[in-house]
């Protein structure tokens, strides 16, 4: 089984702790004047996002987590799973609600997503930074009102709700930044 020695610790390294995959956020080498050296680390649980502190004896080994990121295309959702495909190998993978989390409301069929895999199974899903989505429900548009800067909520085809300018209509496509959840501009229908 792959492992890392404490002198390989650095932020971003993926390790197993109590059976869960973690990423190292911060690593500090601590040593008294004479005596035992330690590595004091802050690690984030990749399943829950929780950050905890942990101390290792320097020289100890820690099991490596087989965690890596890959770009996969979102295909469709069935009962419990969101299905993704590797566009080169055509291999398909199902991600559950834990892995998809908040990304679910941005997932549009055919979009490419960053999927973090642990032992080959999806651990988390990151939607594209920018998505084009259609407004499925919003109050009728106020024609010509492009100046007041007022906004109204709009429900998008994927289930997300974003604030959009008053002049937008149901059925129009818009560009949204998924990191902030902010409306950016009108978009051409794809």
């Amino acid at each position: 089984m792959a492992s890392y020695k404490t002198n390989e610790f650095k932020s971003g390294l993926k390790i197993i702790l109590d059976g869960d995959p973690y990423t190292i956020v911060e690593n500090e080498f601590v040593k008294p004047g004479k005596g035992q050296a330690f590595n004091r680390v802050k690690v984030r649980n990749l399943k829950t996002g929780r950050v905890v502190e942990k101390t290792y004896k320097s020289g100890d080994s820690v099991e490596a987590a087989d965690v890596h990121e890959t770009d996969l295309q979102y295909l469709y959702k069935d009962g419990e799973l969101w299905h993704f495909m590797d566009t080169e190998s055509y291999e398909q993978l199902g991600a559950d609600a834990n892995a998809v989390g908040d990304a679910a409301k941005w997932l549009k069929e055919q979009d490419m997503c960053k999927v973090t895999l642990w032992n080959g199974a999806p651990l988390s899903v990151e939607p594209p930074n920018f998505v084009v989505l259609t407004i499925t429900e919003t109050d009728p548009g106020l024609r010509g009102d492009t100046a007041t800067g007022g906004t109204k909520p709009a429900l998008l085809q994927t289930g997300a709700v974003v604030n959009v300018p008053l002049f937008l209509e149901q059925g129009e496509a818009i560009r949204v930044d998924t990191r902030s959840g902010q409306y950016l501009s009108r978009a051409k229908e794809e």
């Binding site: 601590v30 008294p32 004047g33 035992q36 050296a37 330690f38 020289g59």
Partner: protein, 322 residues
């Protein structure tokens, strides 16, 4: 394009280092302490299991290739000089330690080490404080001296001599540190000192911690009493260990026993054995004057003087750019 050819320290840090060296040389010249140089490469190593020496294999004497150790401290050859000459000496040199890299650690660092024949440990602490005050002209600092026992008792509520392992683990656990660690007694004490006590030591003043548990004597004399103590001290400033001082062990037989114990310790934790310094043992057999000695990390002192956070800020070329 890569900028890694550039120095990491800025000009102010380079100037501060030059001022520091000039200041300490003037300090020791005034006091009649002789500056010496000893070899960086030695045929013998430091067997301390907590220190890993770097080494190289080369034929330097024309009698075949052999292993040479880069010094982890100039202590052994300086003690040989003391045994031969008996006068106060100091040295500024680079020392090397494998596997030590971090915000306050660099595998190659600058050490100031000096020895005072006839000094008691208190006198040496006085002199360390004087030197640090002299070098930090703009920032005269107050001072405290606290026994290791009192430090643990007062600040952690535990007696480091008598507490059981589960008690020590519980103190660490109460501060969210213990986890699944498996440590020996001194390991727990080191953990508590480095994680729970050191960060608060020497905040705005010089903190000397003295009289350590005998199991942590290193090369210090052990004072036999009801509660035996190792006669050594550490200086902390701004939450950081700066110096380590000893009432130096002069007993050759005791030195041999500690060397053997260190070698056993190395093999226990799977570290390679190192060649023992027979010359040091020869010097102790001849007779080392009663003396106190101290090693002070100059890079860390610079961190304190410059109010800097990372050792790389005071190094021209950290190892990643070396």
């Amino acid at each position: 394009m890569s900028h890694n050819w550039r120095p990491h320290a800025n000009l102010a840090a380079l100037q501060a280092r030059a001022r520091l060296l000039k200041g300490l040389r003037a300090f020791f010249a005034e006091r009649g302490v002789l500056e010496v140089e000893t070899p960086i490469l030695s045929a013998a190593g430091n067997p301390d299991p907590a220190v890993e020496p770097l080494h190289l294999d080369a034929d330097l004497t024309g009698s075949g290739s052999r292993r040479w150790y880069l010094q982890t401290s100039p202590e052994f050859p300086m003690k040989r000089l003391l045994a031969a000459c008996g006068q106060p000496i100091y040295q500024v040199c680079k020392v090397f330690r494998a596997d030590e890299r971090g915000r306050r650690h660099h595998p190659e660092f600058s050490m100031l080490e000096w020895y005072r024949p006839g000094f008691a440990l208190d006198q040496l602490m006085d002199e360390v404080a004087l030197l640090v005050r002299r070098l930090s002209v703009s920032d005269p600092v107050a001072e405290e001296r606290i026994a290791y026992l009192d430090l643990f008792r007062d600040r952690l509520g535990v007696d480091p001599w008598t507490a059981s392992l589960p008690e020590l683990r519980a103190v660490a656990a109460a501060r969210g540190i213990a986890g699944a660690l498996e440590l020996e007694r001194d390991g727990w004490l080191d953990l508590l000192l480095s994680h729970c006590l050191e960060p608060d030591l020497g905040r705005g003043l010089l903190s000397f911690v003295y009289d350590y548990p005998p199991s942590q004597a290193a090369l210090a004399r052990i004072w036999p009493s009801e509660r035996p103590v190792a006669r050594r001290f550490e200086l902390y400033w701004q939450g950081m260990e700066l110096a380590n001082g000893f009432d130096e062990l002069a007993d050759a037989d005791e030195q041999r026993r500690r060397f053997q114990a260190d070698l056993a310790g190395r093999s226990e934790c799977g570290r390679e054995p190192v060649a023992l310094d027979q010359h040091l043992l020869g010097a102790l057999d001849h007779g080392l004057p009663a003396c106190a000695g101290v090693a002070l990390g100059l890079d860390r002192l610079l961190l304190c003087l410059l109010d800097a956070e990372h050792i790389d800020q005071v190094l021209a070329f950290p190892v990643e750019r070396a």
